[in-house]
Amino acid sequence: MAKQFYFEELEAGYEIPALEKDPTTQQLVKYAGASGDFYQIHYDKDFALAHQLPGVILHGALKNAFLGQMMADFAGDAGWLKKLSVQYRGMDVPGVKLVARGRVVRKYVEGGEHLVDCEIWIENAKGEKTTPGSATVVLPSRAVH
């Protein structure tokens, strides 16, 4: 199990542990099957080329899942991912490594919860942020109530 973060140990600017991904065409087929998204641009190269794409491209929702994985890891078993927002700004293709990254923007207590707002994104091998977003996690506190 990954390290459990506590509210008190984080400050704005803290970098969330990055998550490296190496999506393959096989993963796109698996994701199509598991999610039920069978749009052919994600696994049929001829279809993708005929639709003015460079080849098959990643499902936006798969990149959403990568960011969800990073944030659920960050929240840990004792925390909770409360909000997750992603925007698909750029296409990503299989065979190009991606990195999910993020940093803490703000922490605060609201409604009795210890909350941490984060800026998150996926960047491609050129360092372009193809999938920016934001997230809020509830973290456990070391404070005794």
Binding site: K30, H59, A65, G68, Q69, D77, G133
Partner: protein, 149 residues
């Protein structure tokens, strides 16, 4: 700028609901989804390990609800083509979804707006989908944006 595509008639579709659908959540489907996205988190894969957490067992990963298709109401638009892009999603998580849950999925057209794009009018359609468990507890809300152009 006056809307070219999103007329008052089109806007009248805001609030339209799709047919609710009910899904029984299978442990195997959660594991398969976790495997497909390459997420080894024991909470999503290992019932034994997940028993010892405060969840008392496996839960679904954050975007698992993408596998629970919703009866999204089709928005009628007067556009020359049928090109559509997934613009992104905003999720809110209130309660975990666990194996054995019966989840009711309900979609609603929340927003329809238009901007001028490079290739002509672009229409942003926001669909809000709620995922409610068998106890009537709202577990997850997803607002997804589809871009039609």
């Amino acid at each position: 700028m006056a809307n070219k595509v999103v007329t008052d008639e089109v806007k009248a579709q805001i609030g339209t609901r799709g047919e609710p659908r009910v899904y029984e959540i299978e442990r195997g489907a959660i594991r398969r989804f976790a495997e497909a996205i390459g997420d080894p988190n024991p909470l999503f894969n290992d019932e034994q390990a997940a028993r010892d957490t405060r969840f008392g067992g496996m839960i679904a990963p954050p975007t698992f609800c993408r596998s629970l298709g919703s009866g999204i109401p089709q928005v009628k638009l007067d556009l020359p083509g049928f090109r559509a892009l997934d613009g992104g999603s905003d999720w809110e998580y209130r309660k975990p979804i666990q194996p054995g849950d019966r989840i009711t999925v309900q979609s609603r057209i929340a927003e329809i707006r238009e901007t001028a794009g490079r290739l002509g009018p672009m229409v942003f359609i926001v669909v809000e989908t709620s995922y409610t468990n068998q106890f009537g507890q709202l577990c997850v809300t997803q607002r997804s944006t589809v871009i039609r152009y």
